[in-house]
């Protein structure tokens, strides 16, 4: 069985190479023959809707791509209400439940995903390595498979609600130069976010599906309270957590709540905060600007997130074919390498390895100290010689996911509590 699978996948790989070769001979433009180029409209966020990617994809595929980047909530709302308004939807796994429930997306056929077999086990078994712990909340493998009953589950059916591609683990970043002396000897902990030594210098991402977990992990790490299931916090637990947070807010522990990556950069740059929830690109950018920000590897584990690429329920025909081509392109290596330089991982990393220098691969994926300065996508040096990625290799980081970004059953309630919190 094992042999067969291996053999099978090898055959597929050979086949894929053949397909690639035929593309090359056809001038890389499989859709350009005869008809007008098909248009693929992509709705999503700035994380993946980047102009270099669009250009490269259009060049490689000979299709038209229209990117409509927007804020998380806005794009979700748009997608849920009007599936005809997009072909592909790119966001995080926490939006899947909403989209699926409102029939905005259609199942994706794994047989049309050229590199399905190369996709690693994170979205298949939930464990990147056998010893990995499965994070709390909506772990991607729990909501990827479309069950016979139309519900999303962890059992493989050949139909998936989203294409697994970009993902990462987030934590918080802090200015190492501002780290209080007595914390330096301690291992990094979510609890620092609520540490009184940082009072007034803390910022949290303004999104309950993300920031709430940062704060919950912090409260738990600090020993203020415990959660039965941190991926499904109950109303009572929320009440307790927020009463604590509101108290801290009124003590002006929190300096701000950022809504975008540039804003989080600005907070740190202006020295408004010393520690905050962060996304990987912000850390790269700040390091590029010589701000000694370290992306923490908290001992309690990371907050994981998984990107999703969903196919609109309204997309059919040539646009659907083109959408599949685009999905396959994303896993074809170059895009994975491109986003690797921003600190993101791709679901089939080996396909991107040839597109990365050895040093890049070692730094970004293997978590080794770099032998040379590495440049970000903007051409600026974001990693200087000798730096090592916090949290170690891809595997060791994903072995330690404490919780996934999740839309909990108490989501609506959490929104109310969030409002109370930030307006208090």
């Amino acid at each position: 069985m094992l042999m067969t699978k291996k053999k099978n996948s090898q055959t597929r790989r050979t086949l894929l190479k053949g397909t690639l070769a035929s593309w090359l001979t056809a001038g890389m433009v499989p859709f350009a023959i005869g008809k007008e180029k098909p248009l693929v409209r992509v709705l999503g966020t700035h994380v993946t809707l980047q102009e270099p990617l669009r250009k490269q994809a259009m060049e490689d595929l000979g299709i038209q791509l229209a990117y409509s980047p927007g804020g998380s909530a806005a794009v979700l709302q748009k997608a849920a209400i009007n599936p005809a308004g997009f072909d592909l939807y790119e966001q995080w796994s926490n939006s899947i439940n909403v989209l699926w429930r409102s029939d905005a997306i259609q199942p994706i056929d794994t047989s049309r995903i050229s590199y399905w077999d190369e996709i690693n086990s994170l979205t298949k078994t939930g464990k990147i390595t056998p010893s990995a712990k499965i994070g709390a909340g909506d772990a991607p493998h729990k909501i990827i498979n479309v069950g016979k009953n139309g519900k999303l589950g962890s059992a493989f059916t050949g139909q998936i609600s989203f294409l697994p591609y970009v993902h990462n683990v987030d934590s918080f970043g802090y200015d190492t130069s501002a780290l209080p002396q007595d914390l330096k000897s301690q291992s990094e902990s979510w609890g620092w976010l609520l540490d009184s030594r940082f009072s007034g210098k803390v910022a949290i991402v303004n999104d309950p599906t993300i920031g709430l977990f940062d704060l919950a992990l912090a409260a738990q790490a600090k020993g203020f309270m415990t959660f039965n299931d941190i991926g499904a916090i109950t109303r009572r637990e929320l009440d307790e957590l927020f009463s604590l947070l509101i108290e801290l807010k009124q003590l002006q522990h929190f300096s701000g709540f950022w809504t975008s990556v540039p804003e989080s950069v600005q907070f740190m740059l202006s020295n408004r905060v010393e520690i905050e929830s962060m996304f990987s690109p912000a850390v790269s950018q700040l390091n590029g600007d010589n701000i000694p920000v370290r992306f923490a590897a908290p001992k309690e584990g990371y907050r994981g997130w998984h990107g999703v690429m969903c196919l609109s329920s309204a997309t059919q025909g040539r646009a659907k074919d083109a959408a599949y081509e685009y999905m396959n392109w994303w896993l074809s290596g170059w895009p994975g390498a491109f986003i690797a330089r921003q600190g993101y991982y791709i679901s089939n990393p080996l396909r991107s390895k040839p597109y990365l220098s050895n040093a890049e691969w070692q730094y970004w994926y293997e978590g080794l100290p770099t032998q040379e300065a590495l440049k970000g996508p903007d051409g600026k040096v974001s990693v200087s010689i000798g730096q090592q990625r916090s949290g170690g290799s891809y595997e060791s980081r994903f072995n330690n996911v404490a919780v996934w970004n999740t839309v909990m059953p108490t989501y609506e309630y959490s929104l109310q509590k969030w409002y109370e919190f930030i307006t208090s």
Binding site: Q77, A80, S102, T259, Q266, S270, T410, Y413, L415, Y419
Partner: protein, 900 residues
């Protein structure tokens, strides 16, 4: 340098002014700082107020969002929009605040970020409003709940037993659950309610999935529609919750943070401004005080300085002066050692003191001198008187000049005139002519001097009479060649053949000009030649001609500086000229003056050692219809021969001869030249003449007329030439008439234009004359003239004698009355004669005064006419002929000659 009080005072003044300026400047700066501070403070207060209002507005905004969320009130929306405008305005005012630069907003883009949050907030609120509207549509308009319909359908299904009872019951339960959950979700949105709603929907649908009955299918469709509406509602609700609770709350929070930051910024800036203003004010006050103290100290120092250093000393020196002025003796002078103005004043006082003493001395001296002066003055007055007398006698002398010089000159001229009457050789006649003419020139020189003074006085008047060019040229050459011969200079005269022979103008002045130029040329030329070139240009009417007289010499020449001087009276080209060349230095001055008087122009060009050229252009009148001076020159006969080594005749003269003969060298004469009707030979020197003479004589004997043209020869050589050659000969210089005569002789023709040479000599007069003349020589000269005219005369020595003689024996046909005489002058005598009844007796005045007014005076006083001395025979004869009868008697002439 600073020893001068003036400088010290100026320095002090400058320091004071500078202090005042600094103080003024400081005051101004302080005022500015204070004003600015006040303005800034005012602005800061306004800004602080604005920021406070901003915060309040944001809170109000949030309040209205909540109100809308709860009540969907339209007024909340309106209020929201107004607040938005108000907030935007406030941000604008803050941005435009005069202090905005001080706030350094740009550091972290506070205002920009506020704006962007505001924009996002507004946009989100719009979405909230829209979503609320959609929710209302879903619930109220479209009929969200369909439970009644479902129940009806269920009742119908139960009636029709389409499903078993149990299933119906279950379906009822599930539909009730759906309603329940939907209501629960509406009331309090939660995932749990939504999930339970969906579970119920799933249950119902799974039960109805395979039913084909229309009622059940309709039910299934209703449930599907309900589910879809619910999902939409849930999505809207969630999104709205997210927008309001997360996004908008976040924006507002951030906005409030920023506005608080802004408030801090504005406050701290305000404080800074205040502090700065206070500090500036303090500094200003301190500076002002320091400067005031300095100014006061300086002013006092200045006052002390003034009193001690200036006023005191001045007072003491003033005392000294006062005492000195009073004549007191001052022994010691103060402040003498000082180097400034006071010191100078002191020194001045000492000088004053010394001067005082000196003045006394001087006064005494002056008094002495005064007395001497008075004496000198009286002597001076005496001298002046003497000088005036001397001037008067000089004037007298000058006035008498003409008379005194002319009288003997008249004698000479008269005697020469008489000599002229005697038969003599042509040579002698020529010499006599020349001597006579020279005398005339001498007279003219004297006249020059008088003329000059007349011209200077503007009293010279030009004659305008018709005159012959021939005589002018004859005279000119006579004088010039005579002088040139002395130096062996060649002289050439070239006259434009078309020059009219008679011109109208002042002949005397014209010849004066010519003569002066030529004598001048001869005078300053040692060797070479003098060329006189006269050209004429007739105007179109033919009544005016412009003479262009060029006198060119090969003499010593002049520099430009000398040229500039030569026309000044009594001046020559340089001081040594007078020694070398003599002369009055008046000639050229008169030429220039005369030329200008005659409306002509005089130009001179010269270079040292390269000769001088004078060019005079003179306008002259001309009588109409004249032929040119050489107009009727005959052509040489056909076949005439022409021999010359060097052309001696001017080309224009040659052209007149109309000769077609080829010029052959003189050598050719020695060969057989045949027998041409005329031979023209040009011979440069006497030696060649001598060599050629035998040959030429041979030709002459053969019947050829041989005409010789020769270069200027000295008098003796001329004589020799004339003696050895009796054929036509022409020696340079020659006049046009001489040339013409020569050609006539050469061609054997007769000159019809020739003026009869002796015309009047044989005309004799008849009458008895009383000659009143005091000068013995003049008595002889005039007497001889009268005798030679066949007249008899008596002599009266003065006017009185004349009157007496006439009264005693009134036998005279005419009286010649000299004007200036002792005892009784001519005027007085005439008056008395007329008074005695001799009113018809012609009385002709004789006077050396050539001026017109003399003549007028003479006529006024009763004289019949007037003659100017020296008397010329021709003029006298012409005059007498008017009053006396003519008697042509050759015998009488003979008689007269015998008497001589």
């Amino acid at each position: 340098m600073f020893h001068s009080i003036r400088l010290q005072l100026i320095l002090v003044l400058i320091v004071m002014v500078a202090l005042i300026l600094v103080q003024g400047f400081l005051g101004r700066a302080n005022e500015q700082v204070l004003t600015e501070g006040m303005n800034n403070t005012r602005q800061a207060v306004i800004d602080v107020g604005l920021v406070g209002e901003l915060e309040r507005d944001i809170l109000d905004l949030q309040r209205n969002v909540l109100i809308f969320k709860e009540t969907a009130s339209q007024s909340a929306v309106t209020r929201f929009e107004r607040l938005m405008i108000s907030i935007t305005d406030k941000i604008d005012s803050l941005e435009n605040s005069t202090l905005s630069s001080a706030y350094n907003y740009s550091d972290d883009d506070t205002l920009v970020r506020m704006r962007s949050h505001l924009v996002a907030y507004k946009e989100n609120f719009r979405q909230v409003v829209d979503a609320r509207h959609e929710r209302n549509q879903l619930i109220n308009v479209q009929g969200f709940f369909v439970l009644d319909e479902l129940n009806d359908l269920l009742a119908q299904a139960a009636e029709e037993t389409l499903l078993p009872e149990q299933a119906i019951t279950k379906l009822r339960l599930q539909t009730a659950k759906m309603e329940n959950m939907a209501l629960r979700y509406l009331n309090s949105p939660s995932q749990e309610a939504a999930n339970q709603f969906q579970d119920a929907v799933y249950e119902v649908q799974s039960m109805l999935q395979h039913e084909t009955n229309a009622t059940l299918q309709s039910m299934s469709q209703q449930v599907d529609a309900l589910n879809s509406r619910f999902l939409q509602l849930a999505q809207i609700t969630q999104n709205n919750l997210f927008l309001v609770n997360v996004v908008m709350a976040g924006s507002a929070n951030e906005f409030l943070f920023l506005s608080r930051e802004l408030a801090d910024l504005v406050n701290s800036q305000t404080n800074a401004v205040n502090r700065k203003t206070q500090k500036a004010a303090q500094e200003a006050r301190l500076n002002g005080e320091i400067y005031s103290v300095i100014a006061i100290v300086l002013a006092m120092a200045f006052a002390i300085f003034t009193v001690k250093r200036i006023l005191g000393p001045i007072r003491s020196i003033t005392d000294v002066f006062n005492r000195l002025a009073d004549g007191d003796d001052v022994e010691v002078l103060p402040e003498l050692r000082r180097k400034d103005e006071i010191g100078k004043l002191a020194r001045a006082a000492s000088v004053f003191k010394e001067k005082n003493a000196q003045t006394k001395k001087l006064l005494e001296e002056a008094q002495t001198l005064n007395r001497q002066q008075e004496k000198l003055n009286s002597e001076l007055a005496e001298s002046k008187l003497k000088a005036e007398r001397a001037t008067a006698s000089k004037s007298m002398f000058l006035a008498n000049m003409s008379h005194e010089i002319r009288t003997p000159l008249n004698g000479i001229i008269g005697l020469m005139e008489l000599a002229h009457q005697q038969p003599m050789s042509a040579m002698l006649k020529d010499y006599l002519d020349k001597a006579s003419y020279s005398s005339q020139i001498l007279l003219n020189v004297i006249n020059d001097i008088l003329d000059f003074s007349k011209i200077e006085a503007g009293k010279l008047e030009l004659e305008k009479v018709s005159f012959s060019v021939h005589s002018i040229l004859d005279n000119l050459l006579a004088v010039t060649s005579l002088r040139a011969q002395e130096k062996n200079l060649s002289v050439r005269l070239v006259v434009d053949p078309s020059l009219p022979p008679r011109l109208i103008g002042d002949p005397l002045r014209l010849s004066q000009i010519l003569m002066n130029l030529c004598t001048n040329a001869v005078k300053f030329t040692q060797q070479g030649e003098i060329t006189i070139d006269i050209k004429s240009l007739l105007n179109q009417k033919g009544d005016n001609v412009v003479l262009r007289i060029e006198v060119l010499d090969t003499g010593i020449g002049m520099t430009q500086g000398q040229i500039d001087r030569i026309f000044q009276p009594f001046t020559q080209a340089d001081g040594s000229t007078n020694r070398k060349f003599g002369g009055s230095g008046l000639g050229l001055t008169i030429v220039k003056q005369l030329t200008e008087l005659m409306s002509g122009k005089l130009r001179v060009s010269s270079k040292p050692d390269d000769g001088t050229t004078f060019v005079v252009t003179l306008p002259m009148g001309v009588t109409l219809g004249q032929k040119g001076i050489l107009a009727s020159t005959p052509s040489l006969p056909q076949g005439s021969a022409y021999f010359s080594d060097k052309a001696l005749l001017p080309p224009q003269y040659m052209a007149l001869l109309n000769s077609k003969a080829v010029c052959q060298p003189l050598e050719a004469l020695k060969k057989d030249v045949g027998v041409p009707p005329a031979i023209l030979v040009e011979i440069p020197t006497y030696s060649i003449f001598k060599a050629l003479l035998p040959t030429l004589t041979v030709y002459e004997r053969q019947g050829c007329v041989v005409g010789i043209v020769m270069e200027t020869q000295t008098g003796q050589l001329q004589e020799k030439v004339f003696n050895q050659w009796h054929g036509p000969v022409l020696l340079h210089p020659f006049t046009p008439s001489q040339f013409k005569r020569f050609v006539h002789r050469l061609t054997g023709t007769v000159d019809s234009d020739a003026i009869p040479e002796v015309a009047e000599s044989s005309t004799m007069l008849d009458g008895h004359i009383l000659l009143v003349e005091d000068n013995n020589i003049n008595q002889v000269v005039t007497g001889e003239m009268l005798s030679s005219l066949g007249l008899t005369f008596d002599i009266a020595e003065d006017g009185l004698q004349a009157v007496t003689k006439l009264t005693n024996a009134p036998v005279y046909d005419l009286v010649l009355m000299d004007v200036q005489m002792p005892v009784m002058d001519g005027y007085e005598a005439t008056k008395q004669i007329r008074n005695k009844g001799f009113s018809d007796l012609p009385i002709i005045g004789l006077s050396a005064n050539a001026m017109k007014e003399d003549r007028l005076q003479a006529l006024d006083l009763g004289m019949t006419d007037y003659l100017t001395k020296p008397l010329k025979r021709g003029a006298l004869a012409a005059m007498l002929r008017r009053f006396l009868s003519t008697e042509v008697n050759m015998h009488a002439i003979q008689t007269v000659r015998k008497i001589e």
